[in-house]
Amino acid sequence: MKKRLIVLIVVLSLLLAACAQPQQAPAPAPTPPADGGAAADTAPPAGEGGLTFGNIRLAFVHVGDPADMGYTYRQHRGTTDMMLELGIHPDQVLNFFNIPPGGAADTAILEAIEWGADMVFATSFGHGPHMLEAARAHPDVNFFHATGDLALDAGLPNFHNYFGNMSQARYLSGIAAGLRTETNVLGFVAAHPFAEVITGFTAFYKGALSVNPDVTMYVMFMNAWNNPALEAQIAQALIDRGADVIGQHADSPSAQGVAQNNGVWSVGYNANMIPAAPGAVLVSPMFDWSYYLTYAVYEFVTNGNVRTDFLGSMEPGGQGMVFLSALNPNEGVVAEGTAEAIAAAEGAIIAGRNIFTGPIYDNEGNQILAEGEEWTERQSAPSWSYIVQGITVIE
């Protein structure tokens, strides 16, 4: 009896292991679809080593999980949109989720290389050093790092950075906030005190300031990208200080709900957060990562050459790598004239207007940019990290 039980257990566990395998372990040699995908016909294989859309292998190292309905969801959505666009078969794509910077990232990148990835993508700023190291050690594999800032200086032919100019959409969402606020105090739930985050909330504030010269803003940092409870607590603390529009650089919609419960307003991020707090969310600035992924994979396969540093921008009609969700359609949520004000500013920004144009002073009164002086970034990852006049960071 006991023996039979043991045998049964062994058989069952083997069966289970066999069932679980295909999702976990790297898939065996991909069988390219017979027709080679829709786009393969239009783009003849010309890349190095006879790469085609039917045989290229792509690996993605994500910092989170698409279930966050925010950053990683949008990143993964970019992948699936790109696959549809170029006719890439799911067998040709290997995803790693919930990979924080550190040893886990090294392992995931190595697994991707051993699986035979031609292009390895990583999505979090902290993945940078791991990607750079792998690029040095594996010159035959190409690496693409979103939000990073190491590629230009590294000067490796197989290491690339890409990002979207989120400041543009943040500036426009700031206009909605500046017109909406009644207390003239904004609050911002900020992730880490990194340049990317500071650039983002500065753009948001500048947008509000452009339509409301009396507006000021409080900022509190979380020291995390994603911590729903902390996001809610900070939002409440900001509202307690008098803020009546809450912006965020955080991954979850929990601050938006706090705004709704307090009868104030908010601006989302990464996902269209209006359904999460229909009475509070004015608008959400968002990324369309498929914009870059389609470009990169297409260029790589057709001529083997992708720009070392890529910055995507807003384009007319909300088609760019960065865009603004639709305004909240519920009556009385967005202030009157918001759509017109945003449309006017959007036109100027798409035409090339720099949001970071002087005079700009920091919050101690020092002049950062003189009248008419423009702040230009040397690469896709932003580096602005001054706290400008009107913003108070609460530590």
């Binding site: 999980d65 279930a67 409870a229 607590q233 929990s254 709900g257 999460a276 609460i394």
Partner: protein, 326 residues
């Protein structure tokens, strides 16, 4: 004064999910079961409480009124938390597996359970989020009690919270009464202190362990539901419970296994976690984040120096009971 009231309110709101978790774990540990699966049970409660209201609303195509939504969510969360604890009880009490390992396994299971169903229902939802109607959310908003809420200072300080805060306080008081003033409470404590003696006194050790663990798990589940319904305002957020369960386990020690002290402990812990947003001390924020844990260490040191019997854990905590080894 306003700042103090806001700080106190935020401390209570931050402390309430911890209080539920702590109370549930105190009841569990009083039976001698060290269930480290609090985090898992809170996740299960968080997703189930929310899902119960969500599924009813979607399935019937209606908006559930606030008070009813509260009852449905409490029931859903309690059942899910108790179910997690039931799995633990079967393994630990009946099959006598090692308690720490089983509790950790329950944590891993519960986190997966919560995030899986949260994601699943979010994907099936027509709007992309697993969320409940505004009328259901109304049930979890702050109460405005006639007369009481209008008292200056005391009103906002004591009578301005959502219904679950008061439920937690009622459970704490009831549990304190149960443990120290009723025969069943005495029996339960006997089971935790010395199950062999309790057994000899014809107390059904197995039944007490099962019931205390499952009810305790249910209370933990309500704590999880507090996070999904109040903290994140009735929207499922991936990984929303994130560590609350572990702090609750630490708080049990902080409260020295007393429901009354758990009230104070959760308020202090809640206060220390939100302190940096309300009390500027001009120190780096990372130092603020250590305060709750420094407080735990301090309490551990003080209680171990004072050596008061009342403050010590149940004698047989974490040890399985074999009748044959008596």
């Amino acid at each position: 004064m306003d700042i103090f009231i806001n700080f106190f309110n935020a401390a209570v709101l931050a402390g309430t999910p911890l209080l539920f978790g702590t109370l549930g774990e105190i009841l569990t540990e009083k039976s001698g079961n060290l269930n480290l699966g609090v985090e898992g049970m809170m996740f299960m409660g968080a997703v189930s409480g929310l899902a119960a209201v969500f599924l009813l609303e979607v399935g019937l195509g209606i908006e559930i009124a606030g008070a009813l939504a509260v009852l449905i969510a409490i029931a859903g969360a309690f059942i899910a938390g108790a179910l997690g604890a039931f799995i633990y009880s079967v393994l630990v009490v009946s099959l006598r597996t090692q308690q720490n390992v089983t509790g950790l396994a329950l944590t891993i299971f519960g986190i997966g359970f919560g995030n899986f169903f949260g994601e699943y229902f979010g994907r099936t939802s027509p709007i992309g989020f697993m969320t409940v109607s505004l009328s259901a959310r109304q049930g979890f908003s702050n109460l405005s009690i006639p007369v009481l809420s209008d008292i200056p200072i005391l009103g906002p300080l004591l009578f301005s919270y959502n219904i679950l805060v008061y439920l937690a306080v009622v459970i704490a008081v009831a549990m304190a009464f149960f443990l120290s003033r009723t025969r069943w409470g005495l029996n339960l404590r006997a089971v935790g202190e010395n199950p062999a003696t309790a057994d000899a006194a014809s107390i059904n050790v197995t039944r007490y362990k099962y019931l205390a663990t499952c009810i305790g798990g249910g209370i933990c589940g309500i704590g999880g539901m507090y996070i999904s319904m109040v903290t994140t305002s009735g929207v499922w957020v991936h990984n929303s419970v994130q560590g609350f369960g572990w702090i609750a386990v630490a708080l049990v020690i902080f409260a020295t296994w007393s429901p009354k002290r758990a009230l104070v402990g959760s308020l202090v812990f809640g206060g220390l976690t939100v302190m940096r947003f309300y009390v500027p001390l001009g120190i780096p924020m990372q130092i603020y984040d250590t305060f709750p844990f420094l407080a735990t260490i301090l309490v551990l040191i003080v209680t171990s120096i004072r050596q008061i019997k009342e403050h010590s854990p149940p004698a047989q905590l974490g040890i399985n009971y074999f009748r044959e080894e008596r």
